[in-house]
């Protein structure tokens, strides 16, 4: 137990700026990574709307297809793709930090966790593409 001072001097406290994440590149990179979550929600929403359109019949679905072809949607999805790739890469790269896997007492090197993640990503992507493109 440390004894508290009876005469605390006037310590100066700085307030963290609202735009602290603009102060350095690592912080900005962090906030961009976190903002990728908006892209996640966005495209889940797009998918739900697509399912809804699919549910309501061919005419609705065609209109939905038109909407997807509008320049605004193309731009929005391009941005979303950028953020989702950013999310995927940071997610897989940080995975070894969050998981300390030990085999026979030795910690598995980070690459042994990262590489299978990337392989799984590739396999899942190819599978989805195959199912959608096979005919």
């Amino acid at each position: 137990m440390a004894i508290p001072t009876y005469y605390p001097p006037r310590a100066y406290r700085t307030r963290v700026s609202t735009y602290w994440w603009l102060r350095s590149w690592p912080y900005l990179r962090f906030i961009l990574r976190e903002l990728s979550s908006i892209s996640v929600a966005w495209f889940v929403l797009v998918t739900l709307l697509q399912l809804g359109a699919l549910h309501r019949g061919p005419a609705e679905y065609a209109r939905f297809g038109e909407w997807l072809r509008s320049p605004l949607m193309i731009a929005g999805n391009a941005v979303a793709l950028f953020f989702l790739l950013f999310h995927a890469i940071t997610w897989f790269n940080l995975a070894p930090k969050a998981m300390a896997v030990r085999i026979r007492g030795k910690r598995v090197p980070p690459l042994f966790i990262t590489v299978p993640n990337y392989i799984a990503w590739l396999a899942a992507s190819l599978f989805v593409a195959f199912v959608l493109l096979r005919g």
Binding site: S39, L48, L51, L54, H55
Partner: protein, 116 residues
Amino acid sequence: MGKRSNEPFLWMLFSVGGTIAALLLPVHVFLFGLAFPLGWLDGPGYEALLALARHPLTRVYLLVFCTLPLFHYAHRFRYTLYDGLQIKHLNELINTFCYGGAIVGTAFAVYLTWSI
């Protein structure tokens, strides 16, 4: 154990959702968001897609795909608002907005994958 926080549960949804989002969302955005609308690749037609969506395995896939990433988003965006804008004091509002959104989306997803 003393005061139990439900953070572990929310964090697990965040983690699983984040992994699913990382594995699957990029290819979906690329195909449905860019490649098919821009004509780079030929996507499945209405009938084919409907048939695919009605396959039991696809239903399960879509359900997972459209729910867990929403909780990933809710968790992450909540903290982004807390820290990025320093509005943690509005946490009740933020939580309602983020998790409420995820729950509504989940309900919508359950309905659609069930009824399609």
